[in-house]
Amino acid sequence: MSIAVVVAPEVIVAGAVRIDADLLQFPAVPPPTGRSAVDVLGTFVRDTYGDFRLVLSADIVVQSIQAVATIYDFDFEHREQLLGELSRLVHLRGGVFVRPESGIQFPSTMDAGARATLECAAAQALGHPRTVIVVTENEKSLRGGNWRPAGIAWHRESHVQILSPHEFNAFVEEVRRRRRP
């Protein structure tokens, strides 16, 4: 069984940009680029052993699309394409779009992107016990490390581990080394 990975909007937005991306030619799959957010998305294309599946919510995707419009001025067609590519990455590895958990109590300082990300990680549809990795560059979330939601029932064996993109990529490589025949 693979581990669910929830990717935060700021990582998706940063991963939507890649130098020399158009040099990628058939039959290549994206090699590690050294840009951590890009490599996070690349994991769901490369992942040879199927250890990780991408889990997103509509809220995360809406926030990501809203942000690429505001920050990069993506036109409508490319915003639609971003949805298409995220859907492809989700379904390529047996991931899923889940309805976020709505009853979690957050500190008032928690911003919208972090809330959407953690609500997705706590979604009922992921079952219990669960192991979920949250990949985020949000410093407020990163302080959590090993996060447990407040205000909802939560299985004691369920785990949500918050990693930066760099930490996640290092972990993926570690898993790959362990799994290599």
């Binding site: 799959v29 995707v61 419009a69 394409q81 919208a112 192991t131 972990f171």
Partner: protein
């Protein structure tokens, strides 16, 4: 275009119904040996198994190509605006804290179908279940990582 010839249904040991469709396609006579070689190497001699693996690989190639095209567009947009990767987390936080109503409305429009998909998402695993060996190992590895 391949034409389905017939469909076979049976039940596996888990009680799940499997449906396999037989499709016909042609290859050059000289390619038969190549096909069988690849089926031997990648499909344990089973051409259907080889085809499943080949399709999975080609789906990854397609995903890589399409994602690459989108990222190339993204890079051109970022260059036009003089943005660097280090700027992005702060800009995203600002964009979500002070949302542009039109950008929000259009994003919701683009994602309208996702609400239905997430509402009907089947749990990818039983609500109560045993962790697989691999998942236990992965969980221990990730939770004991030095930060």
């Amino acid at each position: 275009m391949a034409t389905p010839l017939h469909t076979v249904s049976n039940t596996n040991s888990m009680g799940n119904v499997r449906t396999a469709a037989t499709v016909g396609f042609s290859i050059e006579a000289g390619d038969r040996e190549r096909l069988q070689h690849l089926a031997d190497v990648f499909g344990g001699g089973n051409r259907s198994e080889f085809l499943r693996k080949a399709m999975s690989l080609m789906e990854r190639v397609e995903a890589a190509e399409q994602l690459g095209k989108l990222q190339a567009y993204g890079q051109s947009q970022a260059d036009r605006r003089g943005l660097s990767p280090q700027d992005i987390p702060r800009l995203v936080e600002e964009a979500l804290a002070n949302p542009n109503p039109r950008a929000v409305a259009e994003a919701k429009l683009i994602c309208a179908a996702l609400r239905a998909e997430e509402a009907h998402a089947e749990p990818p695993m039983a609500t109560t279940r045993e962790l697989s060996d691999a998942e236990v190992w992965l969980r221990e590895a990730v939770t004991t990582r030095p930060r």
